[in-house]
């Protein structure tokens, strides 16, 4: 079997058969391939990948170009959508756009496809300004994605517009291929004073292996508000490397919630760049793992201008033989005075075989800043457990209730009520209890 890196590099020629190689975007792809070829997959020798190994994934013979499958029936995937409210939907099946399941729009705002944005002249100006402008030019997996960038979600909210409905971005994989590699590439732009809510989900429908290496670029212009929710509850044979890059301008507000309950290996590289003043960047996460699941949250906030804030609050509950990583990097440039940067990572280990590695990484070059970070690793409070039991609540439910309570303040900021209820249910399922009420 060919090494995955070699396979990818040699597939590039075949990839080029189906795209316009004279397009300027293709120069970006070719350059990205060159970088990836030089660097290869990250290994445990890289500090940023010390606790997350891609070795098992590199051994799988992934299909890189899936054959098109028959459309999925809506009823097969219905449960992965929100129902109680109307949403825009951008749906992919094995990496290929499904017009049947999608609901896009060009009415005042653009909620559509990356392939359309990359190919149609009317989007050219936007692509020139934004495409691959905040994504890392060095990181090898981001370059790999850039090299093969072709399809994904494209959302453009013009100045002073509000997306009237949340956008659901769903990536389904059907198991049509024994093992499938997906590389969605998305671009999301909220212009001055625009507002947008996005829910992103990757869902494998069978137990066949899936490896997704996704890159999302988000641009929030002056006063823009972007609320982004990542629901990671995939099957135990699905792995995800999520590379999200966010560029913010003056007084914009971007919040990313990451709910990590599923999957085999999940790596979240969440990067915020503050290119203006009075910016607020918020990251919240709830991670609940069991079995041999692995989740690695790598966050970066780069404070590049004065008077900005960032807030990070990640909660993790680790059971069985699961492993977690939290690495939160905050850079405060010398010019970025009056920065407020908060970071909190709290973890509960419910099994003595579970592990968590947590590390704050602060690089502060300004002298008038407020930065705080804290991490805790603990067990459930025995006194609290006894308190609940003494009220007649059985131990299992009492434990679940305490874990719920532990994760709760992260849910409080979810602004889509149905999503909040769904996350509540996912948490209850994950903890194996029915509490009879939502938090």
């Amino acid at each position: 079997m060919m090494d995955l890196k070699d396979k990818l590099v040699s597939s590039f020629l075949a990839f080029e058969n189906n795209i316009d190689v004279d397009d300027p975007v293709h120069d970006i792809r070719s350059e990205a391939l060159r970088v990836f070829e030089g660097k290869g997959f990250p290994s445990k020798k890289d500090e940023a990948w010390k606790y997350t190994s891609l070795n098992s994934l590199k051994k799988v013979d992934f299909s890189i170009f899936p054959s098109e499958v028959d459309a999925l029936e809506y009823k097969e995937v219905k449960k992965y959508f929100l129902h109680e409210m109307d949403t825009y939907k951008i749906v992919f099946i094995d990496g290929i756009y499904s017009s049947f399941l999608s609901e896009t729009t060009h009415d005042g705002v653009d909620v559509c496809l990356m392939s359309a944005a990359l190919n149609k002249p009317k989007y050219r100006a936007v692509i020139d300004v934004y495409f691959n402008k905040v994504a890392s030019q060095e990181e090898s997996l981001t370059n790999l994605n850039t090299a093969f960038s072709k399809e994904g979600a494209y959302i453009y909210i013009p100045k002073n517009k509000v997306a009237q409905k949340p956008v659901e971005i769903l990536h389904f994989s059907t198991g049509n291929e024994a093992a499938l590699l997906l590389q969605p590439r998305s671009l999301i732009i909220a212009e001055d004073n625009a507002e947008l809510q996005v829910i992103e989900r990757h869902q494998s429908l069978t137990k066949n292996e899936v490896f997704t290496n996704s890159v999302t670029e988000i641009f929030a212009a002056k006063d823009a508000i972007v609320d982004y929710y990542k629901v990671q509850n995939d099957v135990a044979t699905a792995s995800l490397i999520d590379n999200t890059y966010i560029s913010q301008k003056d007084s914009s507000l971007v919040k990313v919630h990451t709910f990590s309950f599923g999957g085999k290996l999940t790596r979240n590289n969440l990067n915020f760049y503050q290119n203006g003043e009075r910016i607020d960047s918020t990251m919240k996460g709830v991670t609940i793992l069991g079995e041999r699941q692995h989740v690695d949250h790598h966050t970066l906030v780069h404070h590049k201008e004065p008077n900005c804030e960032s807030h990070q609050d990640y909660k993790g509950i680790y059971g069985e033989k699961s492993t977690g990583v939290f690495n939160g990097k905050i850079i405060v440039d010398k010019i970025a005075q009056k920065t407020n940067a908060f970071q909190q990572n709290n973890n509960i280990l419910v099994s003595d075989k579970a592990t968590i590695n947590t590390k704050p990484q602060l690089e502060i070059f300004a002298d008038d800043v407020k930065c705080s970070h804290g991490c805790t690793i603990g067990q459930l409070d025995e006194e609290a457990l006894f308190y609940l039991q003494s009220r007649g609540i059985p131990k299992k439910e009492a434990r679940a209730l305490l874990m719920y309570a532990f994760a709760n303040n992260v849910l409080e900021s979810v602004r889509i009520p149905e999503l909040k209820r769904r996350i509540n249910k996912l948490i209850a399922n994950k903890l194996g209890v029915n509490l009879g009420f939502d938090l």
């Binding site: 409070d381 025995e382 006194e383 609290a384 006894f386 308190y387 609940l388 039991q389 003494s390 009220r391 007649g392 609540i393 059985p394 131990k395 439910e397 009492a398 209730l401 305490l402 719920y404 309570a405 994760a407 709760n408 303040n409 849910l411 409080e412 509490l435 009879g436 009420f437 938090l439």
Partner: protein, 250 residues
Amino acid sequence: MLKIKDLHASVEDKEILTGINLEVNAGEVHAIMGPNGSGKSTLAAVIAGKEEFEVTKGQVFLDGEDLEDTAPEERAHKGIFLSFQYPVEIPGVSVTNFMKTAINESRKARGLEDMPANQMLKLIREKSELLDIDRRFLSRSLNEGFSGGEKKRNEIFQLAMLEPKLAILDETDSGLDIDALRIVANGVNKLRSKDNAVIVITHYQRLLEYIVPDFVHVLHNGKIVKSGTKELALELEEKGYDWIKQETVV
């Protein structure tokens, strides 16, 4: 109702209860007094089934049934309630939802269906009025940010909701001002009946002016060293605990 026979209990090999004998009948109020560290709170926790304490000898019976190996929640289902000295804060779970869960778990254990929502609301309304509790308070997270008095009042509200056979009030008076003390005591008194019993654990006689005990026991070094009627509490208030300590030594 409750019968304790030669009860010994330890935590981390340190014996705290060293042979307790006590019998509490339906309709009675017993006060357990004693100096700090005498084992009062341990006794309460052991009756409620706290697993941290190891019962090394003796038994606790409820209605003739030995409670050995009975989990705290099962004891609650059988009608034991412990009002905590330091109630635990549970962020994100409202008082109402907590009570719903507690009541329905108890019903489930008795083979009953969940209590219908309207009945639950009626019960909550009744009991919150009994304890003069602001309705807004019920939607707040359990004990989170509550003042000492609010926590204690909330404990008695839970007591009222769960209607246990045996209520153990562990230092319910500590941290209460006189008005809060009166409200809490009135609440307890209104809940008293010929079918239930109350054990009041307290350091001071003050609470016993409002919840008048039938019997007073003095605990010292993990044993009941003196029992009597409510007059004993007054005597203790007057003479202090040194008197008991000396008498025990003699």
